[in-house]
Structure formats: C-alpha cells, structure tokens
Symmetry: C2
C-alpha cells in the first residue's frame, strides 16, 4: 500500500490553522491579533527577521524542526541583544500548496520547543500561498528603559566582552557537509559543533548577570549573528569609535581547535556567523565580573578606542596589526 | 542614451537599508530592534500579515505604491478590528536581486503615506533575498483591556453593524480589468470604486465613536477583509451564536448600483472581500447611536440569534430565507 503524505493544499488554510493552534496558548488564538500586557514602566522592544528557503536554509542540511528552532533562536537573540526578556513571537508563513503538512508541523515544533526553553510562545500568525517557503517572524520583549542595550552606546575605554566561543556554527556546518573531516573528534565534540549550527542558543541567560555586574547600565552591544567581526564593526560605526581586538584573547573552543588550523579557527571565529553570542561594551571592572559570572567561553577580547578603525593585534609577536573590514562578511544580495 | 534602472543587487543590502531609513523615524533605526512605550494600563495588540507577489498583488493591477498602501491598510485594519490604536509596524521584505530599487522605494512610500494618515510609522524591518517578492508586516497597537473587540463577544440580541459599504473593492478591480464596463459612470464614481481597491482605508476613525456610543464595552467584531459574509460567519462561529441578516438593510453604494445588477451587487457585498470595514456586534440602542455618528454607508444589517446558522432574509418578499455559507469565500490554498 502506498501512503502519500498529506499536503497543505489537501487540508486548506483552515485545516492547517487548526493543526498549528496546538502550538499556541489557548487563550490567544482566533482574533485578528494577540493581546498581552507589558509590565508597567517597561519599554516594548520589537524585532523582525525573515528566513527564506535556499537562502537561509536547505533541506540538505536542515530539518524543518531545526529551521523552526533557528528562526526562534535568531529572534530571541535579537531581543537579548537589546537587553529585553521575551513576551512572544508572531509567525508569518508563506508556503507552496504541495508542501507536506508534516513539514509545517515540524517547523512549529522547532519554534515551540526553542521558545519553551525561554518561557515564551507563539502568539499569532498568518499563512499564505507562495512558490518559495518564507518564515517571517516578529518578536516582542520588554526591558526597563535605562537597561536598553544599544549599538551606539560604546565609549572609548570600554572593555569588549564576548559571551562565548565563535566559529562553532560554521564548524558544525562543515561537519554536516563533510562528516569525514571530523572523524578524529570525540563524539561529544562533534555534537557540540553540529548542535551549535542546528540548534543555537540565544544568550538571554546572560542578562541577569549583566544587570548584577553593571546596574548603572548604558551598555553598548549587539549579537554576533552575522559574525564577531561584523558585530564589532557595527558597534564602532554606530558609536563613532574604534576598537583594538587582541588576537590571543579570542576564546577558541577545544573542539574547533581540534578540527581546523589556528588560522582557520580565527577566520571562522571572526567571519563564520550564526553563533548568536552577545558582544557587549562596558567599563573594564564590571566587564571582568560579568565574564567570571558567565564562565565557559566568555572573555574580554579587546578595548574600545577613539581612533575610528578596528585593529586586530597580536601582543605576543612583532607582526603588525591587521585592520578588520567587512570584506569577508555576509552579504544578502 | 539608455539608462537602465538601478537594481537591488547593484547597491546591496546596506545601500538599500540606507535608502529605506529615510522612511523611518530617525531615533529608531540602527539597532536589532525598535524600542517604544505602551501607555500605562493599556494592553499591547500584535497582528501579522503576509503579502505574496502573484497571490495578493500583481504588476498588472497594482503599483508598488499601492502594494505598500494596501499592506499598511490591511494591518491597521487588523488593529482597528481589535479596538487598538496603532504604535508602529515592522516590515520583513524578501525580494529578488534583479528588482529595481525604485520599486522598493515606491513600496515604502506607499507604506509610509498610509501610516502617516493614521499618525504612525515603520519602526523596524529586515530585508533578504528571495525568488518571490514577499512583504511580511507585523503591526503593534494599544488598547485599554476592557475595550478589546473580540470575535467571541457577540451575544444573542446584539445588533450587527457595518461601518460602511461593501463590494466596492471588488467593483474597483472590475473597472481596472475592464475599464469599458464603467463608461456610463461619472468620473468621480469610477474613482470611488478604483480607490476603494487601490488605497482602502482602515476604519480606525470609528473607534472614538464606538467608545462614546458604548462605553461599557464587551463588543463582538472583526474586520471584513475576507468579505462581509466571512466576517459574520467567523464572529458567529467564535461566539457560538447565529445571525439573521436583512437583505434590504445591506447598504449598497450608488456607484456600485450603477455598475452592476442588484443580484451582482449583493454577491460582491457579501463575498467580494478587501473592503476593510468593521463588523461590530453590540446592543441595539448604542448600535443605533454608533451608526448615526459614523454616517455614510454605516448601517444595522441584522441581529445575533441563538440558533447557530446564518440566515439571509428578505422581509419585503415571501421568498424563503437563504443560509449563508463560506462556500463562495476566499481560500488561500
């Protein structure tokens, strides 16, 4: 007997909506919009992010579950980058009628599972037909106004903090495309890298440590979803400052060191992208406290300077400083 | 001399973002998200809507400006349908690299012009590459918690109010596709119909009248973006009630009467869609006050009943009541 999978066009929009409502809180569904409360005195933070088939994900390296997880993680990371705790997300989905219903359900499972870890949920959405699968998410969060983290808030003398290792997502992709390259790694090391690519974690856990280490605030920062180099460059551009990054202070994960050369590890750390760590700029002593609180992978990697260029220096050698540019960064067009 | 238009891929993501920032408030751009305040005591309302090329719009009948206008109007209408005043929208845009930059600028002009009319703006966005143009919007508004309009709030005995004429958008589309059919209409009548299709108006203007006419609230309702029949059916389904619609009470615009037969005008009024009026259920005497306050096109069109079916009756004739269904309504797949 031949069971062909149920397709979106078989159950139509209403049928699909009914299935997907299982992934949303019961009290929220059915109206034109979702209603919820922002804590008194808090500001609302809104971010949006669009994922497109064959641009941001492909069936070859990503399951529908992981597409959902990564879409949720990317949006929660944008909230974390502003210092905000999540209130919910909406999902605008465009998809072809001949897509399997199970693909859409797995996408929602991935979204819901990731959101659950951070005690938030899908609060609304829209579905329509398109030749290209597109997942457009808007995420809402709240933050006390004086705690908003902004790209423009970095000041000369600030320490530059990374909340974790970089290059792991890029390494995970490499292992998925060429499993033979990781044969000499322990199973658990392979898993760390692949998981960093498939199910990255937004660093919302860092925020309570940050408020404790530096309650006065005015923190500069953003997330490193487009790469560590991109984050430092964007922060410096928006703040009208420069930076010195100490090459030997960039934390390199043991699994990454084992997979590739030091040169390649540096390249992936700077330009790999999709690591979803936070890059934060604050005075050196709270920065030191913060790094200790976060632990594994967190480090002070450099200093904000007045001169408007970004230098990669190596204090242990006599080689000249390199100037960092976006030339190797990610371009969408 | 041959000037070929500038394409998105010529100026890349950063170049396009710079051009589009002209359409956003100055203080809001550059971070991962937008930050704003919800009035103390108000609830946040969030809605989302996705428009796809060749499904919701086509170059043949819609300019980029009108795509933008309609996208903004549809989302503001979703806010109005919940009783909320707008705070802002985010725009997630997917587009091919060989699209003209001017198309994207006109889209944003249409969005911004419509938002301006309702004193709100674009507060954030994301742009990425895709084979299919997709415009995903999330809109945010605020409403006092006891004023939230919900589909589930209709009660037997409520009057059913429409805030305006229906079928005009469908008639405008007909005139755009077959201009010869409208030759016997006055110029201004043609304009009314075409404008209803190209630049529909969300009924945010109705809300102050509604609060004044019925301050106690618990209002049932939604907008008629998928058609008047669809709105009545959805409200009845969510509220577990039925309705009687009086055929002779359905307001028909003079321009529509002149364009088509009474039968066709009824069909377009019920199933045409994209009129973006509000369908509201509240007790008869505040309903009457509301209709008088709104004026032109507003009317009480029927009554909410306990029996769970929707009847279209004609009190002036002996013909039997018709049962309304969604069979002729809009399906996305």
């Amino acid at each position: 007997m031949n069971h062909s999978p149920q397709l979106v066009k078989d159950i139509k929009e209403q049928g699909l909506l009914q299935k997907l409502q299982a992934f949303c809180p019961k009290d929220i569904v059915g109206d034109d919009g979702a209603v919820f409360l922002v804590n008194p005195g808090y500001s609302l933070v809104v971010t949006t992010d669009v994922l497109v088939e064959e641009v941001h994900f492909s069936d070859r390296t990503t399951t529908a579950f992981d597409v959902g997880w990564r879409a949720a993680a990317a949006n929660l990371s944008d909230l974390a980058a502003m210092g905000a705790e999540p209130l919910g997300i909406t999902v605008g989905l465009s998809l072809p009628g001949d897509l399997a219903v199970s693909w859409v359900e797995e996408l929602y499972q991935g979204l819901a599972r990731c959101l659950q870890q951070y005690r938030t949920s899908i609060v609304g959405g829209d579905i329509c037909r398109s030749a290209t699968i597109t997942v457009a998410i808007a995420a809402f969060g709240q933050v006390l106004p004086h705690r908003v983290i902004r790209r423009q808030n970095a000041r000369p003398g600030d320490a530059i903090v990374t909340t974790g290792f970089h290059g792991l997502s890029r390494a995970g992709l490499e292992l998925l495309l060429h499993p033979e390259k990781g044969r000499h790694l322990e199973k658990v090391e392979q898993q760390i890298l692949v998981r960093a690519h498939q199910q990255p974690r937004p660093r919302l856990d860092v925020l309570p440590h940050l408020w404790e280490a530096y309650p006065e605030s005015r923190i500069g920062g953003m997330d490193s979803s487009d790469g560590l180099a991109d984050a430092v460059l964007q922060i410096c551009r928006c703040s009208g400052v420069g930076a010195k990054i100490e090459r030997n202070c960039l934390p390199v994960s043991p699994a990454l060191s084992k997979l590739v050369s030091a040169e390649r590890a540096l390249e992936w750390s700077l330009y790999g992208g999709e690591d979803f760590e936070l890059i934060l700029c604050l005075p050196p002593s709270p920065a030191q406290i913060l790094v200790e609180k976060i632990g594994s992978g967190a480090a002070i990697i450099g200093t904000i300077t007045t001169e408007q260029k970004i230098l990669l220096i190596d204090s242990s050698s006599s080689s000249p400083a390199q100037i960092l540019t976006l030339a190797e960064g990610f371009q969408h067009f």
